[in-house]
């Protein structure tokens, strides 16, 4: 039997996995650092909360993804005009603009948020199954993109955008594609979140969420799907299991980002790769 607590854990981990896999497409594959991922998560959640009354669950999931990626496209187009090192600041700004906007909108419930979001009607087991199926589908999509020529192009753009362009790669289109796909996933995650909590408030989509997800992507090893999945599961569960870690969550995440950048820029995946390489060459450390 799974109880309410287990269901909560599965839902929370799954939602974070969807967010991390989406951000991994943008930041990991394509090299576009985003500090505003929570805005697209929130957009999906609000879209779902408004639509859930009249539409069926699959339609709501897709719709939430589409609304979020429409915003993603908008931000992406605006970001093309921004120098690479300012992208982080711009996307952080988008996060704050989103919160500031939602907090003042009566039709979105302002500070009080939206309540009475209809039940998903799947039952506990059904909902857990939905979460896991979505995570699996998104991981499979990531894996496919990474192997495809689109992923190859992303890697080139992330490595050296200017040179990629001289080789015929439309870097702007690739960056937009990463933004659109990644924010679509965030929107779907938002819909799942709305169905799960059945009420949403603006503060659930704040800067802390964006930073947490980015930490998972960086600690996992930008671009590595399994690395990001592992980091996401661990970093989501730790604060759930430990009160202290929960209290110092932001401090911990900040420290992890700095330590990873300084000592293991390849993240978990990079560490494992160099361990395996050391073994196979038989060299002593």
């Amino acid at each position: 039997m799974i109880g309410a607590y287990e269901i909560t854990l599965v839902a929370v981990v799954s939602i974070n996995l969807m967010l991390a896999l989406g951000l991994n497409l943008i930041t990991g594959f394509c090299g576009q650092v985003s500090l505003g991922h929570a805005a697209f998560f929130g957009t999906g959640a609000y879209a779902a909360a408004l639509a859930a009354g009249g539409l069926s669950l699959p339609v709501v999931l897709v719709l939430a993804g589409l609304v979020a990626c429409a915003l993603g496209l908008l931000v992406g187009v605006a970001s093309l005009r921004v120098r690479e090192d300012f992208l982080a600041i711009t996307t952080m700004g988008v996060g704050f603009v989103f919160l500031g906007f939602v907090r003042k909108q009566g039709w979105l419930g302002a500070e009080m948020g939206l309540t009475d979001i209809p039940d998903h009607g799947l039952g506990d087991i059904g909902f857990v199954g939905l979460c896991l199926a979505l995570v699996a589908a998104m991981a499979a999509l990531s894996w496919h993109i990474k192997r495809s020529w689109m992923g190859f192009g992303f890697a080139a753009v992330a490595d050296d955008e200017r040179t990629a362009r001289t080789l015929g790669i439309n870097a702007a289109a690739y960056k937009l594609a990463a933004f659109v796909i990644g924010t679509f996933l965030a929107g779907v995650a938002g819909a799942v979140y709305a169905y799960f909590t059945r009420f949403i408030i603006p503060s659930a989509f704040g800067f802390t969420v964006s930073i947490s997800i980015l930490t998972m992507v960086i600690v996992g090893g930008v671009g590595s799907i399994w690395g990001v999945v592992a980091a996401c599961v661990v970093l989501t569960l730790l604060p759930e299991f430990s009160r202290v870690i929960n209290d110092y969550k932001l401090l911990l995440y900040g420290a992890l980002i700095v330590l990873t950048m300084r000592f293991a820029p390849g993240g978990l995946a990079g560490l494992v790769r160099s361990l395996v390489a050391r073994r196979s060459t038989g060299g002593a450390p």
Partner: protein
């Protein structure tokens, strides 16, 4: 003869510096043009303007009679313009082979819809291996660019540019950093490729080498074109000799002296 590339009154300003002060020349299909001039003359800027990573303040670039001045570099690459960088720019996160494979897959990367459904890299890898062998760095295929000596990285630039099947190849000092054996080999390879139909602009500071390979030269000095014509005549031009020597040295043999100037 059909004109493949035309540069018309190109003016490039970087802040206060005029890197190119209204340069024009054209290139017929099949030509191998040597672009020479002292350090800082604007040679690299000229090639960057042709591929589009530098936008001219004034003037036009035409490729096969089409005005490409407003086109992005990727669109120009798709029209068949390729560049090798003087200061090498390999994708450091990709293997040597993947650097070339990516370029060889330009037909797949051009359209996103095609890119996302295409997975196989077999044909492009095979093509990339051929090109690595052609420039003599096949042994480095699986290495990371970071471990390659400069001479190999220079040749990687050439292999990668060739991978997009260019109509016009812009070569920014591809021979610099190679030892004399490697340089002679690559020069011969480039001459063969030119004979097989690829139009080229070659920047090279060693005038003896330029004189060997290029039938025609354009000389830049201080952002201005000071000579354009058959190699022997250009190298004998007193103005060219003066630009290279920093003084009027007419009477001396230019090819040998000037080979050590510039840089």
């Amino acid at each position: 003869m059909t004109t493949l590339l035309a540069v018309e009154d190109v003016l490039v300003r970087f802040g206060g510096i005029v890197a190119l002060g209204g340069v024009s020349f054209s290139l017929a299909k099949g030509e191998l043009l040597g672009l020479i001039g002292p350090n800082g003359a604007g040679k690299t800027t000229m090639l960057h303007t042709v591929i589009g990573v530098v936008k001219p303040t004034e003037g036009r670039i035409l490729v096969a009679d089409r005005d490409v001045t407003r086109l992005a570099p990727d669109a120009r690459a798709r029209l068949g313009v390729a560049l090798t960088h003087q200061i090498v720019r390999p994708f450091r996160g990709l293997s040597v082979l993947d650097n070339v494979t990516l370029a060889a897959g330009f037909a797949k990367t051009t359209h996103l819809a095609r890119a996302i459904v295409s997975v196989s890299r077999t044909a492009e890898r095979a093509r990339a291996r051929e090109l690595l062998a052609l420039v003599g760095i096949a042994d480095y295929a699986d290495a990371a660019p970071g471990v390659l000596p400069l001479g190999a990285l220079k040749r990687l630039e050439v292999a990668r540019a060739l991978a997009i099947s260019p109509a016009v190849l812009l070569l920014d000092e591809p021979l610099a950093g190679l030892n004399s054996v490697e340089a002679a080999r690559l020069a011969a390879t480039l001459a063969d490729l030119n004979a097989s139909g690829i139009t080229m602009i070659l920047i090279e500071h060693n005038l003896a080498k330029v004189a060997e390979i290029c039938p025609r030269l354009v000389v830049l000095d201080n952002g201005r074109k000071i000579a354009d014509g058959p190699t022997a005549a250009v190298l004998a031009d007193p103005q060219v000799i003066a630009a290279y020597m920093g003084q009027d040295t007419s009477g001396r043999e230019p090819g040998r002296e000037a080979a050590h100037a510039g840089g």
